[in-house]
C-alpha cells in the first residue's frame, strides 16, 4: 500500500476551530409567559389601586337590596355598589358590604349617613317614588365643602332607617327647645317666623330627668339670622282661642300647623339682640301669649324662710325691691326645724332681675367679668351689707302680705352660701319685732322668782343680826386683847428706836466710822496727788512759808 503519511501541519488546511456554543439556559420562549404575567400583574394593580374603600353598613333589614345591583348614590351620582349582604354574629342586624369608588373614598368618614331610599309616605308627602321603577338604592349624606374628607377614615357605619330630616348640605342652624310636653309636634313639623315657614322640627327626645322633652329644630338660612338670644319659641299647633273681657280671639299659624303642629318664634326680649349660636337651648312656651308675656329675662328662683305666721301671704304675692315689683311668690310650704323644735314657713319666689333695667345689665356684665357665673358673689356681698326679706302688710283691711327685699344695715350677720335656689335671709317685720321684744321682756320678768327672793332676804337679815350679836359677844373682847397686845409691841418698838437705844446709837456710830474712813482715804488721795513720790521716798519736810526754819 501506500504509505500513510500524516498530513503535515503546514499543509495549508486550517485546523478546525472547535467553538463551543454557549448553552442558553432559558429559552426565548419564556418571554411570552413573563410578559403575560406582567400584563396580568399590572391589570391587577390597576384594579386594586382604582378600587375604593369597602365599608359595611348595618341595617335592620335588607329589603330592596340586591348584591351586585344595588347602587350607592351621592347627590344622584353612583359612588359604589353593594357587593355583599350578610348577618352579624347574633343575626339581629344585617351587614351590607358596599364597595365605594376611589374618588368617593372621602365619603367613608365620620358623620356620613346612609339610608335606603324606598317609597315612603310621611307627613311631608310621598317620597322616593322613582325607586319603584329603578329599584331601591342607598343614599349618602356626607359633609362637603371645606371640611370634606378626601380619604376613607371610617369603615363601619350604622345605617339610618329613615332619611335624615336635614342633610349636611342644607344651610341653617339647629336649636334645642325644651318643652313641657311634645304637644302635637312631630319630625317635620314646620317652624314659623311671621307666619313664614323657615325651618322644621328634626328630632325630639325625652330628657334624661324625665320632666321635659327636648325638641330639636332646624332653621334654614338666611332666616336663621332672625333667631337672637332674646327670641322666644312657642308651640303654635292647632288653634289658639282666647276669650276674655276684650272679646274672642282666634289665632292659627297655618292649616299645616293645624294638622302637623308647628313651632313659631319671635324676638320678644329686644334687649338681647345678639345672634343665637347654633345649638343654643331655648324654652318652648305653650302659646304666643305665654311666650310674649314676660319679656323679663330669666327668672331667678329664691327661697326665704319665715319663722312667723305667713297668714295673708298668697301665691302670686309681689316681691318688692325699692318699690319695683321684682318678682312674685310661687310656692308656700311648711318645714320643721329640728334644733329649735318649731315649724317655719318656706316661701319660694321667683325674681326677674332684668326688670331692674340697665343697672342689672351692668351688674351682670361685671359679675361675668369677675368670673362670678351664678351671681353668687354679688348676692353674698349684698347679703353681707344687710339685704333681707321682710313681710309687710299690703292691705290693713284684708291683712294681705307681701314680701319686700330691703337693706337692713343693723341686721345680724348671717352666713350665706350659694345654693339653688338662692336662700335669702329674712328679718321679722317691725310689729313682729316689737311683739317679740315685749314677749321676751314679759317672759324674763315672769322668770324672776320674787317669793324666793323675799324668803332669801328674810333669812339673810336674820343671819346678819345673829352675826352682829356674835361680834358683840365674842369678837369684841378678842379685838380688845389684840389692840392691847399691839400697843405693847408698839411701846417696845418705841423703846428700841429711842434716842439712846442701842439700835440708833450703833447705827450712828457706824456711819461716823464710815465717814471718817472716807475722809482719810480722801486725804491720802489728795496727798498722793500732790506728792506721788511719797510712796517711795516718804514725806518730805514742810517748810514754813515766808520763813526759814531754824
Amino acid at each position: 500500500m501506500a504509505e500513510q503519511t500524516n498530513p503535515p501541519s503546514d499543509d495549508g488546511i486550517a485546523a478546525p476551530e472547535v467553538v463551543r456554543k454557549k448553552e442558553r439556559r432559558i429559552g426565548w420562549i419564556w418571554l411570552v409567559p413573563v410578559v403575560a404575567a406582567l400584563v396580568a400583574l399590572s391589570l391587577v394593580l390597576r384594579t386594586w389601586m382604582q378600587e375604593g374603600p369597602e365599608i359595611s353598613i348595618t341595617f335592620e333589614t335588607a329589603e330592596g337590596l340586591e348584591v351586585g345591583k344595588t347602587q350607592v348614590r351621592y347627590k344622584d351620582v353612583v359612588v359604589g355598589t353593594v357587593d355583599g349582604i350578610r348577618f352579624n354574629d347574633d343575626r339581629s342586624k344585617v351587614l351590607v358590604n358596599v364597595q365605594l369608588s376611589k374618588d368617593a373614598a372621602g365619603l367613608a368618614a365620620e358623620g356620613t349617613n346612609f339610608w335606603v331610599v324606598r317609597p315612603r309616605l310621611g307627613f311631608s308627602g310621598v317620597s322616593g317614588l322613582n325607586t319603584l321603577l329603578s329599584g331601591a338604592f342607598i343614599n349618602v349624606d356626607a359633609r362637603d365643602g371645606a371640611g370634606a374628607e378626601t380619604s376613607a377614615t371610617q369603615f363601619e357605619f350604622v345605617g339610618l332607617e329613615t332619611p335624615p330630616p336635614v342633610t349636611h348640605d342644607r344651610a341653617g342652624k339647629r336649636f334645642m327647645l325644651k318643652a313641657a310636653d311634645l304637644g302635637s309636634l312631630d319630625i317635620g313639623s314646620p317652624v314659623y317666623f311671621r307666619r313664614i315657614n323657615v325651618g322644621r322640627v328634626i328630632g325630639y327626645s325625652l330628657d334624661e330627668s324625665g320632666d321635659a322633652v327636648n325638641v330639636e329644630v332646624f332653621v334654614d338660612s338666611p332666616n336663621d339670622k332672625f333667631v337672637t338670644e332674646g327670641t322666644r319659641f312657642w308651640n303654635a299647633s292647632g288653634i289658639d282661642l282666647q276669650v276674655d273681657t276684650g272679646g274672642v280671639k282666634l289665632h292659627t299659624q297655618s292649616l299645616m300647623s293645624l294638622a302637623l303642629g308647628g313651632v313659631a318664634f319671635a324676638p320678644v326680649n329686644v334687649n338681647q339682640d345678639k345672634l343665637a349660636k347654633a345649638g343654643t337651648q331655648f324654652e318652648l312656651y305653650d302659646g304666643e301669649a305665654a311666650a310674649k308675656a314676660n319679656p323679663d329675662g330669666d327668672p331667678f328662683p329664691i327661697r326665704m324662710r319665715f319663722d312667723q305666721s305667713i297668714r295673708g301671704l298668697a301665691v302670686g304675692a309681689t316681691v318688692d325691691f325699692q318699690g319695683i315689683a321684682l318678682g312674685q311668690v310661687t310656692k308656700i310650704s311648711i318645714d320643721f326645724d329640728n334644733e329649735k323644735k318649731r315649724f317655719f314657713a318656706v316661701v319660694d319666689a321667683v325674681l326677674y332681675p332684668e326688670r331692674l333695667g340697665p343697672v342689672y345689665d351692668r351688674m351682670h356684665a361685671r359679675a361675668q367679668a369677675d368670673g362670678d357665673e351664678t351671681g353668687g358673689r354679688l348676692i353674698s356681698v349684698m347679703v353681707k351689707y344687710g339685704l333681707r326679706g321682710q313681710l309687710r302688710t299690703a292691705n290693713l283691711l284684708t291683712g294681705q302680705l307681701y314680701i319686700v327685699l330691703e337693706n337692713f344695715p343693723k341686721a345680724e350677720p348671717v352666713e350665706f352660701h350659694m345654693s339653688d335656689p338662692v336662700v335669702i335671709p329674712t328679718i321679722p317685720g317691725n310689729l313682729e319685732q316689737l311683739q317679740q321684744q315685749i314677749t321676751n321682756i314679759v317672759a324674763k320678768i315672769d322668770k324672776i322668782p320674787f317669793d324666793q327672793i323675799s324668803r332669801d332676804l328674810r333669812t339673810t337679815l336674820s343671819s346678819t343680826s345673829r352675826l352682829l350679836q356674835n361680834l358683840d359677844k365674842t369678837v369684841a373682847p378678842d379685838l380688845r386683847n389684840t389692840l392691847q397686845a399691839a400697843r405693847k409691841s408698839l411701846d417696845s418698838i418705841n423703846e428700841l428706836l429711842a434716842r439712846d437705844g442701842s439700835l440708833p446709837v450703833n447705827a450712828e456710830r457706824a456711819m461716823n466710822e464710815l465717814g471718817r474712813a472716807a475722809r482719810s482715804l480722801r486725804g491720802l488721795a489728795d496727798y498722793l496727788q500732790v506728792h506721788p513720790e511719797a510712796l517711795i521716798r516718804g514725806r518730805g519736810d514742810d517748810p514754813i512759808p515766808g520763813q526759814i526754819r531754824n
Binding site: S520, G523, V530, A534, D541, P545, G546
Partner: protein, 217 residues
C-alpha cells in the same frame, strides 16, 4: 539661773545708793484745840437746864487733816503742813472744845449724845464757823455765827449772833503758837455763848476785847 547672771554688781550698788538717798518721813505731830484742864476754873454753880452742842460746820479750806497755814501777804495761798495734823477732824475739835468750855462755864450738862429727861429744859447751841485762819506770824482768826435756842425753857428766847475773834500769835514756833491762839479763841467764843444763855437769850456780851460781835438778833 539665767536671771542671776544679769544681776551684776554695779547696778546693784547704784540702786542701793539711790535707795539710801531716799529720805524717810519726818514724824508727825498732832494738835488738839482742847486746852489743858488746869487752865480752866470749873464752875461750882448748878443750873436747872442742860445744854446740847450740835456738831459744828467748818469751812472746807480748814477742814483738812493737816494744819493749813496762811501767808501774811500771800494772797490766797495756803500751805499744808503735812507733819502737823489735827488729832480729830476740825469740826469735832471745835465742837468738843466748845462743849468742854461751855459745860464748865455754865455748870450744865451736855446732852448731845445722852438722852435728857423728858421734862428738863435744854438749851440747844448751833455754831457755824465761817473763818478759821492761821496766818504765819500773824493773828489766828475765828469767825462764827451761832444760835442758842431754848427747848422747854420758861421765858427763854432764841438768839442768833455773829462773833469774830482775832488773837495774835508768835512768829517763832509758828504752828504751836497758832494752835494755842485758836484754843484761846474757842474759849472766848464759848464764854460769849455762855453769856447769851445766862441772859436767857436776850443778849450776848463779848467775853474779851478781841471778840467782836456783829448783828445779834
Amino acid at each position: 539661773m539665767s536671771v542671776t547672771r544679769y544681776l551684776t554688781l554695779p547696778p546693784i550698788v547704784t540702786l542701793a545708793v539711790l535707795l539710801a538717798g531716799c529720805v524717810g518721813s519726818p514724824s508727825a505731830r498732832y494738835y488738839t484745840l482742847q486746852s489743858d484742864l488746869q487752865a480752866t476754873t470749873p464752875s461750882t454753880q448748878r443750873v436747872d437746864y442742860q445744854i446740847e452742842v450740835v456738831p459744828v460746820s467748818v469751812p472746807q479750806q480748814a477742814d483738812q487733816p493737816q494744819i493749813m497755814l496762811r501767808e501774811d501777804q500771800g494772797g490766797g495761798a495756803l500751805t499744808p503742813m503735812y507733819s502737823d495734823r489735827w488729832s480729830a477732824p476740825l469740826a469735832d475739835e471745835i465742837r468738843s472744845a466748845l462743849a468742854d468750855r461751855l459745860t464748865r462755864q455754865l455748870g450744865a450738862l451736855d446732852v448731845q449724845t445722852l438722852t435728857p429727861a423728858p421734862d428738863v429744859p435744854v438749851w440747844r447751841i448751833q455754831v457755824d464757823v465761817q473763818r478759821f485762819d492761821m496766818v504765819v506770824g500773824g493773828p489766828a482768826r475765828l469767825d462764827a455765827t451761832w444760835r442758842v435756842r431754848p427747848l422747854k425753857v420758861q421765858g427763854g428766847r432764841a438768839l442768833v449772833c455773829r462773833s469774830i475773834v482775832q488773837l495774835p500769835a508768835d512768829q517763832f514756833k509758828v504752828v504751836s503758837s497758832l494752835v494755842e491762839a485758836q484754843q484761846q479763841a474757842v474759849k472766848l467764843l464759848a464764854d460769849t455763848i455762855a453769856s447769851a444763855i445766862q441772859s436767857g437769850g436776850a443778849n450776848a456780851t463779848p467775853a474779851a476785847q478781841s471778840v467782836q460781835m456783829l448783828g445779834c438778833a
